[in-house]
């Protein structure tokens, strides 16, 4: 028998409690709706493709960038061109041969595949978005470019890697995927470049479109990929047809007829919209490089300078004089007692040397000078700092924000690609004539004196081997610190010599206010363990869990 009637109030209260929380349960957000799902990103109703545009924008963040990107150092600080001024930077693991499959530096394996995954995902979903066919075609071409670029970043480091094509791997797919050959990867990238180049934007682009991938970028990528593929590292039998294809690819960029060298070498790196820049990683104006690279003594209440890179004497000596002739050439006008005078103007634009003007005072890298005080503060190890990429602030009083886009492809590289591929295409004068033309145009822009026969200091009638050396030298000084030499020396297969020596610096002693004595000194060794270092190790965790993926030999 129920006899609770007397206690009704108890149940009334309990009912109230239950009701209260039931009321609270009604009409609440069951899942966080601010987190977009796929159908809101690739939305059938998004007429302007606003959200899809954000998805393609995300792919752009996978473009390679440079400058002080490896623990505060340039990749080129692992070449014979420079060393890091820092006491400790991971770049030293690369330059001292200490990289291993568990101690990875510049490891882009995961990042590149993330870019590839996102590009493929974009390509597979974008069709539902009701933007114009024109936009869709353009976006798809851009996504495919970035995917191809990611593959190139992989193969230049690791050799052949698994090609996924349009397949998007899911959690339920088998990840035991073997590598494709290097040649297959090259073919894939080239095919992609070929099929997208007509769909990409064509120069000149509008002010709003600046920074987007253009036809020139696709052709430039193709040129670089084919050049790498034809190089000794990847073409051991020296198949000349590969060089010929590479030369054609470079010429295709030139034949676009749009690109040109900037008249002023310094401005190449600080001009956002420039006919020389084919593709650049777009950044806002900043003064990061001024602060990171300027000589360490330029410090005030307003600014600091870290002087994080020390170019080597080896690079300094590679620059010719204003005559275009090597400093070892008695007719070059080089004066060992005044070693920085009358040099290739690119030298002044690339190197901070003792006496160079900066922020209203000369750089002091003599022993005990303001920029080399020999205290324990981070300072140059070689007597030089890196000036390249900075505007001319000789007489300025402070740093100010400047365009510092990292240039991925620029026209000068294409000219050098063309010269190199042509010269290797066959030991004939016509090929060397092509090479001469390219080198001369670069030297002319650099404002080297034209000299006899307007050869800008180049030796007349060079044979193929001499021309090869001349092109390699030109590439070194023109493209210094642009993440070229690190790969160039590897693909030339000369790293065990070039990257296996004691790097040098200059010890400068001040005799009186304007007189210095110079002594070349050994600074530190760079180590290259051949042949294993010609390719990076694949991350250990990757090889362990994907047993179909073979590790590069030696690692």
């Amino acid at each position: 028998m129920f006899t609770f009637t007397r206690k009704n109030y108890t149940f009334f209260i309990m009912l109230c409690v239950i009701n209260t929380f039931q009321l609270g349960c009604q009409k609440v957000e069951k899942v966080p709706l601010e987190a977009k799902t796929e159908d809101l990103v690739y939305d059938e109703k998004d007429l302007n493709g606003v959200v899809a545009n954000q998805a393609i924008t995300n792919l752009y963040t996978f473009l390679p960038t440079g400058f002080n990107r490896i623990d505060g150092s340039y990749l080129d600080a692992a070449t014979d061109d420079g060393i890091t001024s820092q006491y400790a930077s991971n770049i030293q693991l690369l330059s001292k041969g200490l990289q291993s499959s568990t101690q990875l530096v510049d490891n882009t394996f995961g990042d590149s595949y993330t870019g590839i995954n996102r590009a493929s995902l974009f390509l597979s979903k974008i069709d539902v978005v009701p933007v114009t066919d024109e936009t869709k075609t353009l976006w798809k071409a851009e996504a495919r470019f970035i995917r191809a670029m990611c593959y190139f970043e992989l193969i230049k480091r690791y050799g052949g890697v698994p090609l996924l094509g349009d397949k998007i791997l899911t959690l339920y797919d088998d990840i035991h995927i073997p590598r494709n050959s290097y040649a297959e990867c090259v073919q894939y990238i080239v095919n992609e470049c070929d099929s997208i180049s007509d769909h990409l934007l064509k120069e000149p682009v509008t002010a709003v479109q600046l920074g987007r991938i253009t036809q020139g970028a696709a052709l430039a990528l193709k040129s670089r990929v084919l050049l790498y593929a034809a190089s000794p590292l990847n073409n051991p039998s020296n198949d000349v047809t590969k060089w010929e294809t590479a030369a054609e690819a470079a010429k295709a960029v030139i034949d676009l007829g749009y690109y040109a060298l900037n008249a002023n070498f310094v401005n190449v790196f600080i001009t956002r919209k420039d006919k020389e820049a084919i593709l650049a990683y777009q950044d806002v104006k900043n003064q990061d490089l001024e602060r990171a690279n300027s000589p360490a003594g330029y410090v005030s209440d307003l600014y600091t300078s870290s002087g994080s890179t020390s170019p080597t004497q080896d690079l300094v000596d590679a620059f010719p004089t204003i005559t275009g002739k090597a400093i070892t050439d008695p007719t070059s006008g080089y004066d060992a007692m005044d070693p920085y005078a009358k040099r290739d103007p690119r030298f002044d634009a690339t190197i901070f040397y003792n006496g160079a003007e900066w922020l209203g005072r000369p750089v002091e890298t003599f022993e005990g000078g303001r920029d080399k005080p020999n205290t324990d503060q981070v300072q140059t190890k070689t007597g030089y700092y890196l000036r390249k990429f900075l505007p001319d602030l000789s007489t300025a009083s402070n740093y100010s924000p400047v365009d510092h886009n990292f240039i991925i492809f620029r026209y000068a590289e294409i000219l050098l690609n063309y010269a190199e591929a042509a010269n290797e295409s066959g030991d004939i004068a016509a090929n060397r004539a092509i090479a001469y033309t390219q080198l001369i145009s670069l030297r002319k822009r650099a404002k080297i004196i034209a000299g006899t026969g307007a050869l800008y200091g180049l030796k007349p009638n060079m044979n193929q081997v001499e021309m090869r050396e001349a092109i390699r030298l030109e590439r070194r000084i023109e493209m210094a610190f642009e993440e070229q030499r690190f790969w160039d020396v590897r693909r030339w297969k000369t790293a065990e010599i070039d990257f296996n020596k004691t790097l040098q610096g200059m010890e400068i002693t001040q005799i009186d206010a304007n007189a210095f004595s110079y002594q070349v000194v050994n600074v530190e060794p760079i180590v290259f363990i051949a042949p294993k270092m010609y390719l990076y190790p694949i991350p250990f965790t990757e090889v362990i869990s994907n047993n179909a993926l073979t590790q590069n030999s030696g690692w």
Binding site: A35, Q54, L210, I544, L549
Partner: protein, 942 residues
């Protein structure tokens, strides 16, 4: 000598555990009537002397959602009387448990006021905190920030059966706090306690003097192939102090820290116990200062100051003979002030500012700094303004319990509603300071500003906000007939909580328990829960968790009944499946997230980007464990002594981890999946002896726990060498290389890191796979491979009005990995601090005695690898707590209004014995130090 001491203490602790067994004959004669009474906590202000076994296992115990008589207990639970917490002058309750509760491991790694809570581990996991029957969370502040005097008892629910009714929150075990509800004796009382103490920092590492630092720095530069930077005359200047501005020698620790910091607490308690009304009301204020120095010129405090007000009111009213209403209110208000730079970054500055970095002040009085050392720790301490946090928290519990005997005899129904909001606001009144570098002492024109003053900020932000609504409806029955005792409970609960702007998290479930006891001999218990969490995918939210157990009171069997020696002998076995809901934040949905922006156009216009987030795992479910527990309890010699032992084996499965066979080629992050399997097992022993001899009453008790763990499965890919496998080893294993001493002229060609050319004095590692180079293949378990052993020992004495209590606590087999700034000299690009122990580095002269490799300036690729060289044995024994008190004879007090007066002094962390000498074994990373506390006070009872 220290080793001998250590040995003595360890022997003593082990002895104390087994003392009960051997002392049977000698003390059997001292039976006292009161000892056999099942006494419980009283309101006398005398401190807790453990008068009997019953103080450890009282006749009735609080278990989850109710009480149970000890004879019918099947579950494995630990019990601690609230009184035994009171001698600990700590502000966070978690620091009072160490060594007192068998099975509970505690570790305090930060000593800062407010943030010094210990992390608590029970059977390998951090327990859920349940206060007065409601699960509480540390979202805004540590839920154990409570006053010990408001605590009636602490119950540790250790096995699966004891927690299974919490279902998907049961896997971690439960630490259950019950607050005081009434005066024990009929009538009422009012008591007041005032106490104050001083704290001082324990075992801080000693920085090198400027001379030693600079000399060692020179040595490091030479070892790194660089020229020394300090000339002999500069070194002499550091040593002689001839120019304290240009060649300073600052002990920064002394410069910014005081020797002592005060703390105080006032507590006013009142309680009543009448037929229809029971109440306990308490008001508590405590204030704790930090160790930082202050500048009298500041019109405000910059030192850490932590004040806390706790108001608690528990009222229970019998509305009529069948209906009980209870209302509990809690207010917890906290204010916390710290220097504007933040106490953590000041301690981090200490690790990065050597003695010769700069002076505190320049010669003309401004703060000093250099280009290399822009942070002046003293200026950060006193001239960076202050930060203030205000926290308000409340909890209201309202419960009604109706006896429904008229429907079914012994039955009842109950409703409980709890609402607990908390809110913390952060007020930022920080600023920066000017610091200058004068390269020439006395030359006022030549200077560089290295730190720039900024306006004092005045901003506030919501640091955190949390709100919890808990509703529970239950019904139960308790019946006894003939030789049968029966109880049952069915309970539905709904726990809805919300942190700032997250969607609410809801735990809900139905739970039930049946307990049946036959003839006081056998007890059977089954319990289970069906519980859910709303953040899993639909249809993955709920699961069923059953448990069962049996106990056998052998002392009630004929063959043991009336045994003079053995008073109690009980055997317990339980088994349960429990869960741990760790749903993440709706990770079962595949969503897209904002990514890094990119820029287009001549104006570099920033364009937002969006990308697919990490792969969703729609199949994510609750982690689970199958827990087995076997226990034996003995009481003997007229319950003077007791001994109890528990063995547990917890098999965890469905543990969340990422796949072992995973590939970056996938191009997206792997989600956590229910993959892992671990096992925790161990033994917990608890023993003691209490007796009275004439006027002397004494107790001695001890506990020891052995806890081992093993990774059974973690989807590890096939490793090339067996030493590389994690599977099969302990969960907290430290992995790395085995250091075999240092390279010297004799073994310079021994295997070394691939590509690395070793120098004399570099660490030499063992080539485990014998391939001639040191690589990942040579890594193995280098620490925490042994079961953790932890223990506590307690001695209580009472003689006339005096009482005394001593608590030791310790850990064995505890390894730590020392690394980073506090271990490696000149870390942080050559700028870091170096400590006295860094002088034990390798030099050709000290090759045979060196404990550390040669000093270098770089982040050494070889010498700073994780290796056994940096794995330290951080086992320790502490004199954790000591108290002496004197209670005046009430008859001798001048007035009858005052019913009791007690004076006491106590201390915390009074002595520590450890092989690890560099710093404190619990707090060794250079954070705010742990405190040694000396405290004293007075209690008055009306």
């Amino acid at each position: 000598m220290r080793k001998l001491l250590l040995l003595c203490f360890r022997t003593f602790i082990l002895c104390s555990i087994f003392l009960g067994i051997i002392s049977e004959n000698s003390y059997a004669a001292t039976v006292h009537d009161t000892i056999l009474t099942d006494t419980v906590r009283t309101d006398t202000i005398a401190r807790p002397l453990d008068k009997s076994y019953m103080d450890y296992q009282p006749a009735k115990l609080n278990i989850l959602y109710g009480e149970q008589s000890r004879s019918m207990l099947v579950q494995s639970v630990g019990f601690l009387d609230g009184k035994r917490l009171e001698s600990n002058p700590v502000t966070n309750l978690s620091n009072a448990f160490a060594g007192q509760l068998v099975g509970l491991y505690s570790n305090t790694s930060n000593g800062a006021p407010r943030y010094d809570n210990a992390s608590l581990i029970i059977r390998g996991r951090s327990p859920l905190i349940v206060i007065d029957g409601v699960p509480r969370y540390s979202e805004v502040f540590n839920e154990l920030s409570l006053n010990p005097e408001q605590i009636e008892s602490v119950t540790l629910l250790k096995d699966g059966l004891s927690t299974v009714m919490l279902g998907n929150r049961a896997m971690d075990g439960v630490l259950m706090i019950t607050t005081r509800k009434k005066s024990i004796k009929p009538g009422s009382f009012l008591s007041f306690t005032a106490q104050g103490g001083v704290q001082n920092a324990m075992r801080m590492r000693q920085a090198l003097s400027s001379y030693d630092y600079a000399s060692l720095y020179n040595e490091a530069r030479v070892n790194s192939g660089l020229a020394p930077v300090y000339s002999q005359s500069q070194l002499d200047a550091y040593r002689d102090g001839t120019d304290p501005y240009l060649y300073p020698n600052i002990n920064w620790q002394d410069a910014i820290l005081r020797d002592n910091a005060p703390q105080m607490r006032y507590t006013l308690n009142a309680g009543g116990n009448y037929t229809n009304l029971k109440y306990f009301v308490s008001l508590d204020y405590q204030n704790q200062s930090g160790l930082f120095k202050e500048d009298a010129a500041n019109p405000y405090r910059t030192n850490i100051n932590y004040s806390r007000y706790i108001f608690r009111s528990n009222i229970e009213l019998n509305v009529n003979k069948n209906l009980t209403a209870s209302l509990s209110l809690l207010g917890n208000i906290q204010d916390f002030i710290q220097p504007g730079a933040g106490y953590t970054s000041i301690f981090s500055s200490l690790l990065n500012t050597p003695s010769n970095a700069s002076a505190i002040y320049n010669f003309q009085g401004s703060y000093a700094g250099t280009q290399k050392y822009r942070n002046n720790p003293y200026a950060e301490t006193v001239a960076s303004g202050y930060l203030k946090n205000n926290l308000q928290s409340a909890a209201v519990n309202f419960a009604l319990k109706q006896k429904t005997d008229k429907l079914i005899r012994g039955s009842w129904i109950k409703a409980l509603l709890s609402y607990a909001p908390s809110y913390e606001q952060a007020i930022n009144r920080s600023k920066n300071y000017n610091a200058y570098n004068y390269p020439v002492t006395g030359d006022t024109t030549n200077y560089l500003r290295v730190s720039t003053i900024s306006e004092q900020l005045n901003s506030s932000s919501v640091q955190n906000r949390f709100q919890q609504t808990y509703v529970e409806l239950s019904t139960g029955i308790e019946r006894s007939w003939n030789n049968n005792d029966f109880s049952a409970l069915i309970l539905a609960s709904y726990d809805n909580s919300n942190v700032i702007n997250d969607l609410n998290q809801v735990y809900q479930g139905i739970a039930a328990l049946l307990n049946y006891s036959f003839n006081k001999r056998f007890t059977f218990e089954v319990a289970g829960a069906y519980s859910a969490n709303n953040r899993f995918a639909p249809r993955k939210q709920a699961d069923f968790y059953p448990g069962a157990g049996i106990s056998w009171n052998l002392h009630n069997e004929g063959f043991l009944k009336g045994n003079k020696f053995l008073n109690e002998f009980k055997l317990r076995v339980t088994y349960a499946k429990v869960g741990n809901a760790d749903p993440g934040y709706y990770v079962w949905r595949q969503t897209y997230l904002g990514g890094a922006a990119y820029r287009f156009g001549t104006g570099a216009t920033s364009t937002a980007s969006i990308t697919q987030g990490a792969f969703a795992n729609p199949d994510r479910v609750t982690e689970k464990a199958k827990k087995f527990n076997f226990g034996l309890d003995f009481a003997f010699s007229n319950k003077h002594g007791w001994f109890s032992i528990d063995y547990y084996n917890n098999s965890q499965y469905d543990l969340l981890q990422t796949r072992g066979e995973s590939s970056l080629i996938l191009g997206n992050e792997y989600p956590l999946e229910n993959i892992g399997k671990n096992r925790y097992s161990g033994i917990e022993i608890n023993a003691g002896w209490v007796a009275t001899k004439g006027k002397l009453r004494y107790s001695i008790s001890g506990n020891i726990t052995s806890a081992s763990s093993r990774i059974l499965f973690n989807d590890e890919p096939a490793q090339p060498y067996p030493n590389m496998a994690r599977t099969g080893n302990s969960i907290n294993q430290i992995r790395g290389y085995i250091a075999e001493g240092f390279f010297d002229a004799g073994n310079i060609s021994a295997p070394s890191l691939e590509g690395y050319v070793p120098s004399e004095g570099d660490v030499r590692y063992k080539d485990l796979n014998g391939d001639g180079v040191i690589s990942i293949y040579d890594q193995t378990v280098i620490g925490n491979g042994q079961p953790l052993l932890y223990f506590g020992a307690n001695i209580g004495l009472q003689f006339a009005g005096f009482d005394m209590n001593i608590l030791f606590q310790g850990v064995e087999n505890r390894d730590i990995l020392t690394t980073g700034n506090y271990q490696f000299p000149f870390n942080n690009d050559g700028k870091g601090e170096a400590y006295t122990y860094n002088m034990n580095r390798y030099t050709p002269a000290t090759a045979s005695t060196a404990t550390l490799p040669r000093v270098t300036l770089f982040n050494e690729v070889n010498n700073y690898l994780t290796s056994s060289l940096y794995v330290k044995d951080a086992s320790y024994i502490r004199l954790k707590n000591f108290e002496i008190g004197y209670t005046f004879n009430p008859n001798l007090l001048p007035t009858t209004v005052i019913k009791g007066v007690r004076l006491f002094v106590n201390g915390q962390n009074l002595a520590t014995f450890s092989k690890y000498k560099d710093s404190d074994p619990e707090n060794y990373t250079g954070l705010y130090p742990l405190q040694r506390i000396f405290n004293g006070g007075l209690s008055i009872k009306l």
